[in-house]
């Protein structure tokens, strides 16, 4: 069964179109990474899926229902972001109890143990926490709610490296125990790629790619060699990225299935794998140029 289906999803905010004709579907019980640069439309998409924003055009179905303003979707979905506002009048411990009353699958035991592990005190106040701590607490609520659809919108903002690693590990462990559909948006694909089963890459409001993680890893390869050779070899091939390194050497990223290893070797071209994270960066570069051009 598909947990989430989008067809031609478009969102207009004032003059700006933040999502353009986005179509994809996510099967139940998978972890999907939503990646893209700043302003690519990640948050817009996730808010629409969580039922907080209305789509301007196209169809959205979450658990078979239009999520906007739906109590059913709201009950089965949790949206965790760093914009969360929780009351200052309640202590962290009471907040957990209150959150637990709303979510039918809430695991209070897990919540309390995580809160203790991450060094919170039960009577701390939410607004007194630092950004990283606040997001850690949000993430704990997200994990403990065990909602069939759990959406983390850049959950690790401000967390230190140790907490990030712990969070990803906790996410994976809990997911294996209680499978559910998890959407995770992040700027650090290399950190989460071990977790993800599929990647949805957005670029300026459009779907750039939506592939299983393994495919993304093997989608592209890097060619390094003499500029002339590389140019000749990559003619009529899909070039994702080109960069000159040194005097007469060029690094080019092309589609992996267009590379003939033997031929490349003959031409003195070195073939290297391209990480998923780098591949996404190459796909979503603003123009042809690089930051170097700004300083020329």
């Amino acid at each position: 069964m598909e947990a989430i289906v989008c067809e031609g999803l478009t969102k207009k905010q004032k003059q700006l179109t933040t999502l353009k004709e986005v179509s994809f579907s996510i099967p139940e019980n998978t972890i999907v990474g939503v990646v893209g640069r700043n302003g690519a439309g990640k948050t817009t998409l996730l808010k629409i899926l969580a039922g907080l924003w209305r789509a301007s055009a196209g169809n959205v179905h979450v658990l078979g229902e239009n999520p906007f303003n739906s109590l059913y979707v709201s009950t089965n979905t949790i949206y965790i972001s760093n914009e969360m506002v929780l009351p200052n009048s309640l202590s962290l411990s009471v907040l957990l109890t209150e959150a637990g009353r709303f979510y039918p699958r809430w695991n209070d035991d897990l919540a309390r143990r995580l809160v203790e592990y991450f060094g919170f005190r039960g009577n701390d106040l939410y607004t007194q926490l630092s950004t990283g701590k606040r997001n850690t607490f949000n993430a704990i609520i997200g994990l403990s709610s065990r909602c069939p659809i759990t959406i983390f919108d850049e959950p690790t903002t401000g967390m230190d490296q140790a907490v990030r690693n712990d969070f990803y590990r906790a996410l994976l462990k809990d997911y294996l125990q209680v499978p559910r559909t998890i959407l995770l948006s992040s700027h650090h694909l290399e950190e989460v790629e071990e977790l993800l089963e599929a990647v949805l890459l957005l670029d300026r409001g459009k779907k750039q790619l939506y592939l299983p993680m393994d495919d993304v890893k093997h989608e592209a390869v890097g060619l390094t060699g003499r500029t002339e050779m590389v140019y000749t070899y990559t003619q009529a091939k899909t070039v994702f990225y080109r960069e000159s390194i040194g005097m007469d050497t060029t690094y080019t990223v092309i589609k992996a299935n267009q590379v003939d290893m033997e031929k490349a070797k003959q031409l003195g071209i070195q073939v290297t794998p391209v990480s998923a994270s780098d591949f996404c960066v190459y796909l979503t570069r603003a123009g042809k140029g690089a930051i170097d051009d700004v300083f020329q």
Partner: protein
């Protein structure tokens, strides 16, 4: 396959209401502070007359809950408007909810604070009387002209007025979020109309309609219908907004 949970509107409204009671405790705090100020202001009574003859001195203090009541009505309106401002609004949508359940829970909360505000406003009067007992040496003759049935009617009317103010504040807050321009035009228009029509017409009619009603039952019906209409308008208007938060 995972099973999904279906939940009824009423149970979510009830949960939201309980949550709001706890998280908006600041509302009650501000009410307490305001009513304490009201007590201080009316410490000598709102009406004071002294009379001295050869034999005795008679000081008449008239204690009423007027000041506290006035403060509470204003407080109700402002608190209701605050509930619709962005900060609170985002907070409203943290856990399971949709627009309707959020409005219904807010209305229940405002009804509760109106009841609490109405009763405590009336009680401030007695705080003043008790303080008089304790702080002064003179013997006191207390004359209360109210029967208990009148007292209950009085409290009920107070509660309704506060809720009325809440409903107005709530609708105004929703309009403010929905369309800034209209929100500014409305008060300007209301004041302008007042001058334009020369104190007659609209306001006199409204004053008569709500405040000069002699039948208590009729008063209750009028106010309740108006409050329902206002909250209904708020719900309809907020449905025009695209974003929940």
């Amino acid at each position: 396959m995972m099973s999904f949970n279906n939940i009824s509107l009423s149970s979510i409204v009830w949960k939201q209401y309980q949550y709001k009671q706890k998280s908006y405790v600041g509302m009650y705090m501000s009410l307490m502070v305001l009513q304490l100020i009201a007590i201080l202001i009316s410490i000598e009574g709102t009406l004071y007359t002294g009379e001295t003859t050869d034999v005795f001195t008679l000081n008449m203090h008239h204690y009423s809950a007027d000041v506290a009541f006035f403060f509470t009505v204003i407080w109700g309106g402002i608190s209701a408007t605050l509930l619709t401002t962005k900060g609170y609004w985002v907070e409203n949508f943290m856990f399971v909810t949709n627009r309707l359940s959020n409005h219904l829970a807010n209305i229940m909360l405002l009804t509760t604070v109106s009841i609490v505000g109405g009763i405590t406003a009336l009680l401030t009067k007695y705080v003043n009387v008790v303080m008089h007992y304790m702080l002064r040496d003179e013997p006191i003759i207390q004359i209360s002209t109210l029967e208990s049935s009148e007292l209950i009617a009085g409290v009920l009317a107070m509660i309704l007025y506060i809720l009325f103010a809440c409903a107005i504040g709530y609708v105004y807050g929703i309009i403010l979020q929905w369309n800034r321009f209209i929100a500014i035009v409305i008060p300007v228009l209301l004041v302008g109309l007042n001058f334009g029509l020369g104190y007659i017409g609209l306001y006199a009619t409204m004053y008569d309609f709500y405040l000069q009603e002699t039948s208590f039952l009729l008063f209750i019906i009028k106010v309740l219908v108006t409050i329902t209409g206002l909250f209904g308008l708020a719900i309809v208007l907020s449905n025009r907004k695209e974003e929940l938060k």
